[in-house]
């Protein structure tokens, strides 16, 4: 029983490790850019880009920081 539990725990831990590592296709350069856009000095630029789609598409309601 203990062995089965350990196998399950090992599988879960390996799954957590893979998921926390992110997508392996992301390059170090891409990671740096994407982090700057979503957590760093380029967040304003990223938000403006997301909001521009709402302005261009009548089906998607504008809900940017301007109305927050």
């Amino acid at each position: 029983m203990e062995g089965v539990s350990s196998i399950g725990q090992d599988l879960l831990e390996e799954r957590r490790r893979r998921r926390s590592a992110g997508d392996p296709r992301i390059t170090p350069e891409g990671r740096e850019i994407l982090l700057r856009l979503t957590t760093g000095d380029r967040m304003d630029e990223f938000q403006a880009a997301l909001d521009s789609d709402l302005e261009d598409d009548a089906g998607l309601e504008r809900h940017s920081s301007e109305d927050a």
């Binding site: 990671r31 979503t38 998607l60 309601e61």
Partner: protein
């Protein structure tokens, strides 16, 4: 399953999993929020992801690995989304689909910044009993 926004989707794709999110939960991005990211991947011009990222990076955003990030199928959510947009006349498809996803998946939504929540979404979420969580970047 936790429903997340574009910011958190990108953060988990690059391996910067927010500590506030349960590491065992499946993370899912509503389809129209994925569409907003895809617009950035495909749009031409300086400053767009199409110009900033390599093909491999773009592929990871276009077709995320399902173990890392799932894209919610919009079809089962459309009726609920339409009901919400009809009831709250100023709510659009993006807001309606996000709220429908939150209703179906644990009555909670996760955003990477409060700037991406929006006043209208927050108001309706409050009325529907959907908890808005924000996992701001670590300062």
């Amino acid at each position: 399953m936790l429903v997340i926004d574009e910011y958190l989707a990108v953060r988990v794709l690059v391996g910067a999993h927010p500590s506030q999110l349960d590491p065992d939960e499946t993370l899912a991005l509503p389809a129209y929020r994925h569409y907003r990211l895809l617009q950035r991947v495909h749009a031409p011009g300086a400053g767009q992801l199409s110009q900033l990222l390599s093909d491999a990076d773009r592929q990871a955003i276009r077709r995320p690995h399902p173990e890392v990030l799932q894209i919610l199928d919009p079809r089962p959510l459309l009726d609920e989304a339409a009901a919400i947009t009809a009831a709250y006349r100023s709510a659009g498809l993006l807001v309606g689909e996000t709220l429908a996803a939150g209703l179906v998946h644990g009555r909670q939504l996760w955003f990477g910044t409060s700037r991406n929540v929006g006043e209208r979404l927050a108001e309706i979420a409050g009325e529907l009993g959907i908890v808005i969580n924000v996992a701001e970047p670590d300062s």
